[in-house]
């Protein structure tokens, strides 16, 4: 591995590894603190929470589209931090939120040949297998540990969003042996320039190995994984940005499916949470796409980073049993 690669991806790896191995934090964490739910107001009518959830996820859907992030990455830290729902149900619902978004977008992206099935199949096999392992580990660990790691992960995502660069057409001088053998290559039509863009990938073994960690984290936290898929496909493996974004979105329909089954079989699906969340996110996404035409993306991106940082600190302090805010 060359020095430049280490430098380029060192930050991503350091964060992924740290999020998985924060053992001193585990020791300090208090199960009681993290398990303590937001108090339920017994005077509140039963339909108020689904309604509030619908409104909040509607706003979340708008912000997610404008900020260029998936719904799951906003949903899990915010809902687990500020709502009375237990993290087990929030993660199960978060996966279904991310899954439904991927299912809605997937068919169109595949038909337009923006999402590549040839690129997705080997990646999905690794990521979905590890998402199952992540979901099983996440459900077996005490809540405070998962909440603490979730907070660390969200703060890591903030760092990635803050620092990661994107490359429209990464330079891939030569496809590696594995991607050549698997014929992971393609052509897509770039509408803005009217050109057909030939693309191929490199560093495939390294990229596939990274999806071991990404899949694990997606399953463990119910976050979806677009925040990690895109940098790896684009910067590490050299797929064009549009192919990376589209394939990442489609990938979630496979990765999140495997983990969603584990949560569903475990009983972590409460329809009164899931359906208002899905409806809210979907309606918000429709509105968000329309607002996108007039919104200022830089401002929105900063807003998303700030919201995520706030939610990450909340998740971290909740996991550690610190009542910060």
């Amino acid at each position: 591995m060359s020095k430049s690669i280490v430098q380029k991806f060192g930050g991503i790896y350091a964060f992924l590894i740290c999020a998985l191995t924060l053992s001193p934090v585990w020791a300090l964490a208090s199960e009681a603190g993290a398990s303590a739910p937001v108090p339920v107001d017994s005077d509140m009518a039963w339909w108020m929470w689904p309604l509030i959830l619908l409104v909040v996820t509607f706003v979340m859907g708008i912000v997610a589209v404008l900020g260029g992030v998936g719904g799951g990455v906003l949903y899990v830290p915010i809902i687990s931090g500020f709502f009375p729902f237990h993290l087990d149900f929030v993660r199960g619902t978060g996966l279904l939120v991310a899954l439904s978004g991927a299912l809605a977008a997937g068919p169109g992206l595949l038909k337009m040949n923006m999402a590549s099935l040839r690129l997705a199949i080997p990646v999905a096999l690794i990521a979905s297998t590890m998402a199952i392992v992540g979901a099983m580990v996440g459900l077996a660990l005490p809540t405070n540990i998962v909440q603490t790691l979730l907070g660390a992960t969200i703060l890591g995502i903030v760092v990635i969003m803050f620092t990661a660069k994107k490359s429209e057409y990464p330079e891939v001088k030569e496809a590696d042996t594995l991607s050549s053998a698997l014929r992971i290559t393609g052509i897509y039509h770039e509408a803005s320039s009217g050109q057909d863009i030939n693309w191929k990938v490199h560093r495939t073994p390294l990229g596939l190995a990274t999806f071991i960690i990404i899949g694990f984290m997606a399953g463990m936290f119910g976050l979806g994984a677009g925040w990690a898929n895109v940098p790896v496909l684009n910067l590490m493996m050299g797929a064009p940005l549009k192919i990376s974004v589209a394939t990442s979105k489609f990938l979630l329909s496979i990765t999140d499916t495997s983990a969603a089954w584990i949560y569903m079989n475990k009983g972590c699906v409460i329809p009164m949470m899931v359906i208002p969340s899905l409806i809210g996110i979907m309606l918000g996404s429709f509105v968000g796409v329309r607002i996108l035409k007039v919104a200022k993306p830089t401002f929105i991106r900063w807003m998303v980073i700030t919201i995520l940082a706030f939610a990450g600190i909340k998740a971290l302090t909740k996991g550690l049993g610190i009542d910060l805010f």
Binding site: W47, N113, L117, A181, L182, I254, S258, A259
Partner: protein, 148 residues
């Protein structure tokens, strides 16, 4: 055009996958709205009364399952895995059908593209697709139940 030549058009397998995924998503989504309406408007009775659910969702999943089993189901085992199928006559558990469709359609997509991959001699991808079917089916089976 050779067998493996690439073009700007999606391959037959990719289009087949997209079509099944699109139809499955649509069916799941429509059913999601219908079953939720039947549940939330009280048209179908629920296992957990609507007024009680907000007192349960703040507990860990194991405590939640124990509570609903103790208070409403009185089964020998907790309602995990595919046991919800026995309860689809109830509004809340009826909603698991569209969720299962949305979660299961990917398995159908993979199964559908396998014959085409074998036919074109694309054995590596056919085997990977079958492996994915196995992995997702294993996850869906409920055999991997764990918990705290």
């Amino acid at each position: 055009m050779t067998e493996h030549q690439i073009s700007a058009q999606a391959t037959d397998e990719q289009l087949l996958y997209a079509n099944i995924l699109g139809k499955g998503m649509l069916v799941g989504l429509v059913l999601l709205f219908i079953t939720f309406a039947l549940y939330v408007f009280g048209i179908m009775p629920a296992v957990i009364p609507l007024t009680e659910i907000s007192g349960l969702w703040n507990q860990p999943v194991h405590e939640y399952l124990e509570a609903i089993n103790h208070n409403y189901l009185h089964w020998d085992k907790l309602p995990t895995g595919w046991s919800w199928v026995k309860l689809i006559g109830k509004g809340d558990f009826l909603n698991f059908i569209p969720v299962a469709i949305l979660s299961g359609v990917t398995i159908l997509c993979y199964l559908a593209i396998v014959p085409g991959l074998f036919k074109r001699g694309d054995k590596a991808y056919a085997i990977m697709a079958l492996a994915e079917v196995f992995i997702l089916s294993l996850a869906a089976s409920g055999l991997l139940a764990v918990g705290h």
